[in-house]
């Protein structure tokens, strides 16, 4: 816009006597930016799209999970790590035509490439994982699920206590960086506790996660230092959102038949 009008005004002004070259006029206007003529200079093409995915905010303020997850930790975890994955992903996608246009879910599955992940997988999956993780927590969380979800947990684990023990044990025995999930397995039609490494998540196997716990050290180090056990217990007792888990399993039941509907016999 600005460059067009100056170009026009350049033509309108009398040329300097010692030069046939219009740019001498522009130079004398002392606007350094104009001297860099990018590839789109003078063209009416839309500028290149540079951002594909955005950083989603958690569904609560950054200090809402205190004292179990401090504001300072949330600022680093969300503001630096999660943000970094989004920026990294967008930068990688800038150079790659083939991966345009996918939803984040689709991108994660495509870049997983059946176990031989493409370089974009780490960023894409970690963006997805952190979106899912923030939503798996809430202020005033913890406690127990109710109704249908509780029944399904009791059916597949024996009791809620049993499930809780299994989940905590998985978090404590995970070597290195990774995630712990409560997952609805699509083919087996049952709930399971699953551990994954680094950025892998259950949607690459077409399963449906209900809640997740980040066990990368950056997820707890500032608040709990090396005490992963204390962190996991704080998550289970005060942070995990069974409301969200219930919504997720309700949605999942549209895709996975969890049992015969109870049709009353007349």
């Amino acid at each position: 816009m600005g460059s067009f009008s100056l170009h026009a005004s350049c033509l309108a002004q009398p040329k300097l006597p010692w030069s046939n070259d219009c740019s001498q006029n522009l130079n004398s206007l002392k606007l350094p930016a104009l001297q860099q003529r990018g590839p789109n200079f003078g063209s009416r093409k839309a500028s290149k799209v540079l951002a594909f995915y955005g950083l989603k905010s958690p569904p609560y303020e950054l200090d809402a999970l205190e004292p179990y997850m401090s504001k300072r930790l949330m600022e680093t975890h969300w503001g630096e790590h999660h943000h970094g994955y989004v920026e990294g992903l967008n930068k990688q996608l800038e150079k790659n035509d083939i991966l345009y246009g996918y939803t984040l879910d689709e991108l994660v599955k495509v870049t997983y490439n059946n176990g031989n992940p493409l370089p974009e997988f780490n960023n894409a999956a970690q963006v997805w994982n952190h979106d899912f993780f923030w939503e798996s927590m809430q202020p005033g969380g913890g406690g127990m699920p109710e109704l249908g979800l509780l029944q399904q947990i009791e059916k597949d684990f024996g009791s809620f206590t049993n499930f809780k023990e299994k989940f905590i044990e998985a978090a404590l025995s995970l070597f290195g960086s990774g995630w712990v999930w409560l997952v609805l397995k699509r083919r087996e039609k049952r709930l399971e506790v699953v551990k994954t490494s680094n950025a892998v998540n259950p949607i690459v196997w077409d399963d449906i996660p209900l809640i997740s716990l980040d066990t990368w050290e950056h997820a707890y180090y500032q608040d709990y230092k090396n005490d992963r056990g204390k962190y996991v217990n704080a998550f289970m007792n005060h942070l995990v959102s069974w409301h969200v888990a219930t919504v997720r399993i309700i949605r999942a039941e549209a895709f996975v038949n969890l049992g015969e509907p109870k049709i009353p016999v007349a």
Binding site: F175, G176, G178, N226
Partner: protein, 233 residues
């Protein structure tokens, strides 16, 4: 080699903290490991690595690897005694992880030295020449290791090692607590840099490249040279 120095036979007299279990184990001939002392104060590597990190890293993380390694070894000893093959196999990952953690960190403490004691001083002698031969310059080696360390996804280590068969220097990464030897049976570690988040988080947060840039100020090239000269005389 270095492993022998790490394993110590615990006797009743010298094991007040570990108590009955370890003492009983030593009677059955099981050698347990113990946390090696640091040859410098926790605060001696500042400002490259903070005293708080050094203390947590040594007293909590490394200690946990030692404790869990000893526990896994005991369980392995029992399982072997009973001929319980499935249990023996099942324990392998815990031994690899915790034992690897112990081995790697024991090397790591020797890889670091306070500046007053030569930390950061470039290598001289045969290791210095070998680095110039293989990587053109010490700077180029540092850039390469920093790039590979920063790019490592998740937890792991970046190594400068020597292939004792081929007499060649190599830069490698391993994930989690896998020792360098998992990347090649003839690889001997000279310098290992821990890029697990616990190694730098409290000071550098997520900016791993800054940690990697600064750690070279306290790297103990004297130790690396000693190991190199032993393998490639």
């Amino acid at each position: 080699m270095a492993l022998r120095a790490l394993l110590t036979r615990k006797t009743l007299a010298s094991a007040p903290r570990l108590g009955g279990a370890a003492a009983a184990a030593s009677f059955r001939g099981l050698q347990t490991s113990s946390l090696p002392d640091l040859p410098y104060d926790y605060g001696a590597l500042q400002p490259a690595i903070s005293g708080e990190i050094m203390q947590l890293h040594h007293q909590k993380h490394h200690q946990a690897y030692v404790t869990n390694y000893n526990k896994a070894l005991e369980q392995l000893h029992d399982a072997m005694g009973k001929g319980d093959a499935p249990a023996v196999v099942k324990l392998q990952s815990a031994i690899k992880f915790n034992g690897g953690g112990h081995v790697n960190h024991s090397i790591f403490w020797k890889n670091l030295a306070p500046i007053q004691e030569g930390g950061g001083e470039p290598p001289k002698g045969s290791l210095g020449w070998a680095i110039d031969d293989h990587f053109q310059s010490l700077d180029a080696l540092v850039q390469k290791m920093n790039a590979e360390g920063a790019a490592l996804q998740g937890s792991g280590w970046v190594w400068l090692g020597v292939d004792k068969e081929l007499k060649k220097l190599v830069v490698e990464t391993t994930s989690n607590q896998d020792p360098l030897v998992t990347k090649g049976p003839s690889l001997i570690p000279l310098i290992g840099i821990d890029v697990w988040e616990h190694a730098y988080y409290l000071q550098y947060k997520n900016v791993r490249p800054d940690y990697l840039k600064n750690i070279w100020k306290v790297i103990n090239w004297k130790y690396a040279s000693e190991v190199y000269e032993k393998e490639c005389p």
